[in-house]
Amino acid sequence: MRFEVKIEVSPRKGIANPEGSTIERTLPALGFKTAGDVRVGKVIRLQVEADSSAAAKTIAQDMCDRFLSNPVIEDASVEVLDT
C-alpha cells in the first residue's frame, strides 16, 4: 500500500531559531501580543510503499534519522496521514 507521510523538521529546543525570534518580535505590531516561543521549521511530504501504516512510519523515521534531519540542530516528527 502507498501511504502519504508528513515529516516536520524543527529546530531543537535550546537551539537559536532566528527566523522564529524575528517573527515573534513582529507579531505584536499587528496586535498579537500573546504569542511566544515561535519556531520556524520545514515540512516534507512524501509517499511511501509499505505493508502497514506503522511500517510506513518506521521507514520515514529512518529517513529522518539518516538524512532528512540533522540531529545536532533539528528534531523530526513523522505523521502518516489518513488516506
Binding site: P11, I15, A16, P18, E19, T22, L68, N70, V72
Partner: protein, 225 residues
C-alpha cells in the same frame, strides 16, 4: 609536503577557481576534482571549497555527502591526508560526519560578506604550520549559514582536545564559543568559515590567508592512529 592539491567541485560550487589560483600562486599544483568521480588521483591534499553544493537543498552540505568522491575523501582523511573545508566545504564536512557539530543560519539572519578578524587558538593542524597561538588574521567571510553549533559535550571535547582552530575576535554570526574553524582530533581535517583563498594578495585587502594555504602545502599527512 602536500604540493598536489585536489579541489573538489560539486554542482553549485563556486570558489574552486579562486582556490586553484591561490594554491598555484603559492607554489602548489592544484587540480579540480569532479564530485561524481571516486578517484582522487595522486593528490597530497584536498580542499572542499565554498559555494552551494547541490544547491544546498535540504540543508547546506546535506546532499554532498552522497557524492561518490566523499567516500574517497573520508578514506583519505582516515589515512591522515590533509583535508581543508572552506565555508560550504566546512558545512559539507560536518554533514559527512568528518567534523562534529553543524552550521546554522547567522543569528542576525543576514548574509555576511565582509573582512573579519580571526585568532589562532590551535596550531596543531594542517593550517597551523608556522603559526603561533594568538596570531590575528584578517580573512573575509561570505556566508548565510556560518553560525557554528554543537552540543555542550562536543564543545567541551573540542576545547579539551585543542581542536578549536580559530575564534572570531568580534563574533559576526552567533557561533558558539566564537568558533570560526575546528579540526578533527589528529588535526588533518580542518573546517573554517572564512575564505583564506580570498586573502592572498594586498590587492584583495589582505594576504593573511596565504600562510594558511602555505601551511596546507607544507603539512603532509598527519598520523591518525
Amino acid at each position: 609536503m602536500s604540493q598536489r592539491v585536489g579541489v573538489v567541485r560539486f554542482p553549485g560550487t563556486n570558489c574552486e577557481f579562486d582556490t586553484v589560483d591561490a594554491v598555484n600562486e603559492l607554489g602548489g599544483q592544484a587540480k579540480v576534482l569532479w564530485h561524481g568521480d571516486s578517484d582522487l588521483g595522486d593528490v597530497d591534499a584536498i580542499v572542499i571549497p565554498g559555494g552551494f553544493a547541490h544547491g544546498d537543498y535540504l540543508r547546506c552540505g546535506a546532499i554532498a555527502r552522497f557524492s561518490p568522491i566523499m567516500d574517497s575523501i573520508a578514506a583519505f582523511a582516515r589515512n591522515g591526508g590533509p583535508v581543508l573545508g572552506i565555508c560550504n566545504g566546512f558545512q559539507v564536512l560536518t554533514e559527512a560526519g568528518l567534523l562534529p557539530g553543524a552550521l546554522q543560519k547567522n543569528i542576525g539572519l543576514k548574509f555576511l560578506c565582509c573582512m573579519q578578524q580571526i585568532q589562532f587558538v590551535s596550531t596543531t593542524n594542517i593550517v597551523g604550520v608556522g603559526a603561533r597561538v594568538g596570531d590575528l588574521l584578517s580573512i573575509p567571510i561570505n556566508h548565510f549559514e556560518g553560525n557554528y553549533v554543537c552540543s555542550e559535550d562536543t564543545l567541551r571535547q573540542l576545547e579539551e582536545e585543542n581542536r578549536i582552530v580559530f575564534r572570531y575576535t568580534d563574533n559576526p554570526n552567533g557561533s558558539i564559543g566564537d568558533i570560526a574553524g575546528i579540526s578533527n582530533e589528529p588535526g588533518n581535517v580542518v573546517g573554517m568559515m572564512p575564505h583564506p583563498e580570498r586573502a592572498t594578495s594586498m590587492l584583495l585587502g589582505s594576504n593573511d590567508g596565504s600562510s594558511l594555504i602555505q601551511s596546507l602545502l607544507a603539512a603532509g599527512p598527519i598520523p591518525t592512529a
